[in-house]
Amino acid sequence: MWDPVFFLEVLIGGLLSGVMYSLVALGFVLIFKASGVFNFAQGAMVLFAALTFVLLLEVSGDFWDWTAWLSLVFAVLAGGLFLLNHYSTLLQRTVVTSSRVAIALAAIAIVLLPILFDGGQNMWRGVFITLLIFMVLTVSVRQPRAAAAVLLGVALAAFFAGEINFWRSLALTLVIMIILAMAIESVVLRPLVNQEPIILFMATIGLNFVIEGMAQGVWDADVHALDIGIEDIPFEIGGLFISQFDIFAAVTASILVAGLAIFFSRTRVGRALRAVADDHQAAMSVGIPLKNIWAIVWAAAGIVALFAGMLWGSKVGVQFSLALLAFKALPVLILGGFTSVPGAIIGGLIVGATEKVFEVFVGIPYFGGGTESWSPYMLAMVFLLFRPQGLFGEKIIERV
């Protein structure tokens, strides 16, 4: 009963779900690449992000008025701090307020504002304004007064925001993930600098418990439906039925991966990240601020977790099982290599295709199903015997 069309459908379905796995794997790669920490809490972060997003969607009205006020406050504070910093440097006095706080506040305001400003009425306008503001801010890092002025202006505009909640929820979730990242950096990672990797790994498992408990305790443990506007309808190409939603997810993932790959290889911050990953002390001695780098990387991982959570959440519902996605991402990681962003995608494709094909053609007929839980791991294990650092991992060179 060999049917090439059916096989192709299974294969493509597997490949597309593999891309979704690589979205989760990306978060691991980001953090491992930049800090050498194997962040087990990534799955919990996916759950946390998705739950936060869904529940923000469900609240309405007054809450958003409050956020508008809040973003105004943040923007004013950030602007004020930038100005203060600027003048205190001019006066050759010690900077009282940390510029880090100012940047954090600015980040919060920036993410909140354009979308509040736009009110979600037109998504492209929102994206455009966000990009514009990012550009202005990058230019004005050396000109704090300009930045402050921009922020204040946007804050005022944002105050008269519109109605629809989707983009606002997204923005606020982003902010919450960034705050979470900074909290993790300062509470968990900083005290553990220079510890053995396994200690850091264990700490992230503890963190995993905390975030899982928080996600379910502060929010709730019910299953929430999430509609991001793309329906899971199959469409036909040359006799093959392919899910529209999976295609959308794959495209999103590819854009994210491409963006991150460029970020790592082409930007200043990306180079700093790689330097930190290579050698903490050397990076610090050439003036790379370790704390900021780690906060950035965890924030990036949080944002990736949010995208993964949204896509998975709208596919299977936002519920606890999202946290278990981490176990799907692990074989992807070792196949692609812990330190490679493109590797995460390739690994995801391989894992997705293998597990689906194996389950449909071997698992269900011969073993009674359920092989998906281990077949990727077996594949990865056999694979590692021949290439111990994964497909794209950096070559491990050992000296005595």
Partner: protein, 375 residues
């Protein structure tokens, strides 16, 4: 004042190389052992002995097994739950299908099966290291629990997939009334199954754990243990000075899996009474790894201290929560709160003392030597 080694002279190498060279350590150890064997069976309630003490011993043994692998040989494993499951199901099948065997032998055979499986899953360790290896051992975890879920033979075709520990005696069915070794019947007490006394279960578990812990202590003091530590500290250098990495690593996997397998078998036969793959899932593996880390990598005593912490912390939290939060908090809120507190406690502990309880214990002893007149 109380804890000085001054005046304790050794007149032979054997005395000098004793596990406890200091007399006070010896006294405390023997005192503790006597208390452990005598006091709980005489005074302990069913609750203290069953869910707490036996659980502690079983997990302490599993943690000890993992500590041999991770703490001494330096190979991170996340497959502990899987190896425990192998021990548990193997022991169950030996006890079920060969009732002539004494239960202790069943348990040991369970350990041996786990060791063989451990060797197979330890093979990648020659090529892979660190977190790659950790993730690769997850293959063992998922594959083994899947097999026990899907192959009916292992659970004797139980419709619910749960294997209930059969009632078995200390010396096996031959030593029962009327068997070939019938004269042993008076001491052939029931150890497993619902009718076995908790005191018996506790004492058998304790005896096995003590013997295996002693064995572990001696392995790590022997050339095998030194080879493991050499591999852990730098495997290439170890290879150059003539330690065979494949053999050493596989031996570590075998011994470690043996301990985990025995712990799994005891878990089923003396602690819970039935085997269910849920009990040997990934969370269990992490829990055991936590015990090892919190207890202290590369310490036999630490494994048990870590196990006590992980076992007793939820119990303590539960007691506190039920006395304080009686009726005021919903049970699932409470469960989530426990999760948060548990996670934070672990992070806090890792930050305060990354080397674990074993290090605290050592510091305490050093302080005590100078007490009450520190420099």
């Amino acid at each position: 004042m109380l804890y000085r080694e001054a005046g304790q002279f050794k007149t032979s190498y054997a005395a000098d190389q004793a596990i406890f060279p200091i007399a006070q350590d010896r006294w405390v150890f023997w005192g503790f052992l006597i208390v452990a064997f005598v006091v709980p069976p005489l005074t302990g309630s069913q609750y203290v002995m069953g869910p707490i003490l036996i659980q502690l011993l079983v997990f302490g043994l599993a943690a000890l097994g993992l500590n041999l692998l991770t703490g001494y040989a330096g190979q991170i494993s996340l497959g502990t739950g899987g190896f425990m499951a192998v021990g548990a199901y193997a022991c169950y099948n030996f006890a079920l299908r060969v009732p002539e065997l004494p239960l202790v032998v069943d348990v040991m055979l369970g350990g041996v099966c786990a060791a063989l499986v451990g060797i197979v899953f330890g093979l990648p360790s020659l090529r892979i290291k660190g977190f790659y290896l950790a993730v690769a051992t997850l293959a063992a975890q998922f594959f083994l629990t899947w097999i026990f879920d899907h192959v009916g033979w292992f659970t004797n075709y139980d419709p619910a997939g749960v294997a209930s520990a059969p009632s078995r005696t200390l010396l096996g069915s031959w030593a029962e009334e009327g068997g070939p070794l019938g004269f042993l019947a008076p001491i052939n007490i029931l150890v497993s199954g619902p009718r076995a006394a908790p005191e018996t279960k506790y004492l058998v578990t304790l005896a096995i754990v003590v013997v295996l812990a002693l064995f572990a202590k001696n392995i790590v003091r022997s050339s095998t243990g030194r080879a493991w530590m050499a591999i852990r500290d730098m495997d290439i250098a170890a290879e150059i000075i003539g330690i065979r990495p494949l053999r050493t690593k596989l031996l570590a996997f075998a011994v470690s899996s043996f301990y985990c397998g025995v712990a799994g078998a005891l878990y089923v036969f003396t602690y819970v009474g039935n085997a269910d793959t849920e009990a040997f899932d990934l969370i269990r593996s992490f829990q055991i790894l936590f015990m090892v880390i919190i207890g202290g990598l590369g310490s036999i005593l630490g494994s048990f201290l870590g196990a006590s912490f992980i076992v007793l912390l939820p119990v303590g939290l539960n007691i506190v929560a039920s006395t304080l939060g009686e009726g005021t908090l919903a049970s699932n809120t409470l469960a989530n709160l426990e999760l948060i507190i548990f996670g934070s406690a672990i992070i806090f502990f890792l930050i305060v003392e990354p080397n674990g309880f074993a290090r605290l214990w050592q510091i305490g002893k050093e302080k005590l030597r100078l007490w009450p007149f520190p420099h």
